[in-house]
């Protein structure tokens, strides 16, 4: 399938689509409640708060209470979305996610906004490069990282109906649609954007787009890539992974996360234990405090870009 790689222009950040979708759902379902920690501005929930004031709970800058309150609301059958920057939400209130949401099975949705290195030059305090790793080790939570506006809308709808806790992770960058949006979107099933037998590029979130750009560049050089949006890290689509391992000569994973404990290691763990010994590369942020810069500058610095991913693929296939 040939894919036209489109310009960023005219597209919205995923977290904008999240808030629009949530507001649409909440307008027809009074059980939906957004809980914020002085985060309705960055979470794009100002309009939500104005139009549905009874369905938003502000707790102030108090992330532990944010998640505890969300758990209590969820235990009373509210469909809760606890929205806060991913850096704080999955660190400061990790114990509340682990115990109050997951262990007690209060099926709230925990929404990490401005995730990864979205905050750019604000530095390490504001980066969330650990959230996949810590949440993967916690039982009873679905971890979803939508790549485009389509996945974001669908993921938000599914989270509102989920009977078990969900973590949604969004960035701030406007994201183009990756396909014509006709395929089914379900948690735990990777979305194949384009197919090729030489290499499988498995990415998630905002890194799927540069992976797709890299695939287009590689195609011109005669290298055919499969590109997958592995939006759900847990449960991982192991059926798709096995197929890709059978089909492709090499596998490369890309994520806006530490190379430790994220998408790449989840894939590697499965494949190794299944007996696959493929050429394999994990692209992400190395185990260091990131270089100073904007999100794009940081990602480019670590090769998470069209050029960087294409180069890694060429190296891997040598």
């Amino acid at each position: 399938m040939a894919v036209e790689v489109k310009s960023d222009l005219g597209y919205k950040p995923n977290q904008d689509i999240f808030s629009e979708t949530l507001q649409r759902l909440a307008a027809n379902d009074r059980q939906i409640i957004a809980v914020t920690s002085d985060s309705r501005g960055s979470g794009k929930l100002v309009k939500f708060g104005q139009e549905l004031p009874d369905q938003i709970v502000e707790v102030g800058i108090a992330e532990q209470n944010l998640v505890g309150v969300a758990a209590g609301l969820a235990s009373c059958d509210k469909k809760v979305f606890a929205v806060s920057p991913a850096c704080f939400l999955t660190a400061r209130s990790l114990e509340q996610i682990k115990n109050d949401i997951c262990y007690s099975n209060n099926p709230a949705t925990v929404v990490g906004i401005s995730a990864g290195v979205s905050y750019g030059a604000l530095g390490s305090t504001h980066h969330s490069l650990h959230d996949f790793a810590v949440l993967r080790a916690i039982n009873n939570i679905i971890i979803v990282v939508p790549a485009d506006n389509y996945e974001t809308e669908k993921a938000t709808e599914l989270a509102a109906a989920s009977q078990i806790p969900v973590y949604l992770r969004f960035g701030k960058k406007p994201m183009p649609y990756l396909t014509d949006q006709k395929e089914e979107f379900v948690f735990g099933k990777g979305r194949v954007i384009t197919e090729g037998d030489d290499v499988a590029i498995i990415a998630n979130g905002e890194t799927v787009y540069p992976a797709l750009q890299a695939a287009a560049q590689l195609k011109e050089a005669g290298i055919n890539a499969t590109v997958v949006s592995m939006h759900t890290i847990k449960p991982l689509d192991t059926v798709l992974l096995s197929r890709l391992a059978d089909q492709c000569k090499a596998i490369i994973t890309v994520e806006e996360h530490s190379v430790n404990g994220g998408l790449g290691e989840a894939c590697a763990s499965f494949l190794l234990q299944q007996g696959y010994a493929k050429k394999f590369k994990i692209m992400g942020i190395p185990d260091e405090y990131t270089v100073t810069g904007s999100q794009v500058e940081i990602l480019n610095h670590y090769g998470i870009s069209e050029a960087g991913i294409a180069e890694e693929v060429r190296e891997l296939l040598k």
């Binding site: 108090a62 532990q64 209470n65 505890g68 309150v69 209590g72 009373c76 509210k78 115990n99």
Partner: protein, 276 residues
């Protein structure tokens, strides 16, 4: 229930708490004994919750923030018919659902607790939900005085006052001791009443081992319309057994056979006094 009936219940509960801690060879003895009268009055006089209505959205909610004192909760829940008391013979045993902290696998337990400072934020969420749904249910949590330095409690305290949650009551089991030393030695939180009042709560102090005083306090809820209520229940750690009272080692000390017999004998003597 009469005050005498409640006093008898408390002694029965204490005897059972010790029995199942002995059987489990584990438990938080001192804190379970200090909290016994509070749980007794809550479940027998205050809470609108029973095995029959436990899934009703209109039931009262009780979340035990000091989850380590689960033995007291389990004994009371068994007495109220949530599960057969014989289940407690499996407490902390391999593959038992009755683990050493409250778990929703056990009927009657609202929330899984054990990590400290978690009960109050959850209860704030439950109380907000009650207000939004215009329900009459009330929400209660029991905290230990040793867990009050957890910052999450104070985050929740702010929000409870902010949202005027007069359907919420927090009880502090102020037994004055924790695992290392007295609470004032480890991290002083006094004056508790002034702190909570400053946070916007209506506060009442009560003898937390006096069932009549507890009953009166709960009957007066909410202490002030538009404010969450805090009961500072002054208790004795290890209450009811002379050699366990105010002794640090009984924080999670488990009696040997001889100590167990001595404790049961003391409680039987108290029972005779109350009954006469």
């Amino acid at each position: 229930m009469t005050t005498t009936d409640l006093a008898i219940k408390s002694i029965q509960y204490r005897k059972k708490i010790l029995k199942y801690i002995l059987g489990a060879k584990a438990g938080h003895t001192g804190g379970s004994l200090s909290a016994t009268d509070i749980l007794n009055v809550l479940y027998n006089e205050v809470l609108n919750v029973s095995p029959g209505n436990f899934t009703s959205p209109d039931r009262d909610r009780y979340v035990q923030s000091k989850g380590h004192c689960v033995e007291a909760l389990y004994v009371v829940l068994a007495d109220k018919g949530f599960f057969p008391e014989t289940d407690l013979e499996t407490l902390c045993k391999y593959q038992s659902h009755y683990i050493g902290h409250p778990t929703r696998k056990i009927k009657g337990v609202e929330q899984n607790t054990g990590a400290l400072g978690h009960g109050l934020p959850i209860c704030v969420g439950m109380a907000i939900a009650g207000k939004k749904d215009k329900k009459d249910y009330r929400v209660f949590t029991l905290m230990g005085d040793g867990e009050l330095p957890e910052g999450s409690n104070w985050e929740a305290a702010l929000s409870a006052a902010h949202y005027k949650l007069d359907n919420l009551c927090a009880i502090v089991d102020k037994n004055g001791m924790q695992i290392t030393a007295t609470t004032s030695q480890v991290m002083n939180t006094d004056p508790l009443d002034e702190k909570w009042k400053a946070f916007g709560w209506a506060v009442r102090e009560v003898d937390g081992n006096d069932v009549a005083a507890l009953k009166d306090a709960f009957a007066a809820l909410p202490f002030e319309k538009g404010k969450p209520s805090l009961i500072i229940a002054k208790t004795v750690k290890g209450k009811g057994v002379s050699f366990m009272e105010n002794q640090l080692k009984w924080h999670h000390g488990v009696p040997n056979a001889e100590q167990y017999e001595q404790a049961q004998k003391e409680l039987d003597e108290k029972m005779k006094q109350v009954e006469s």
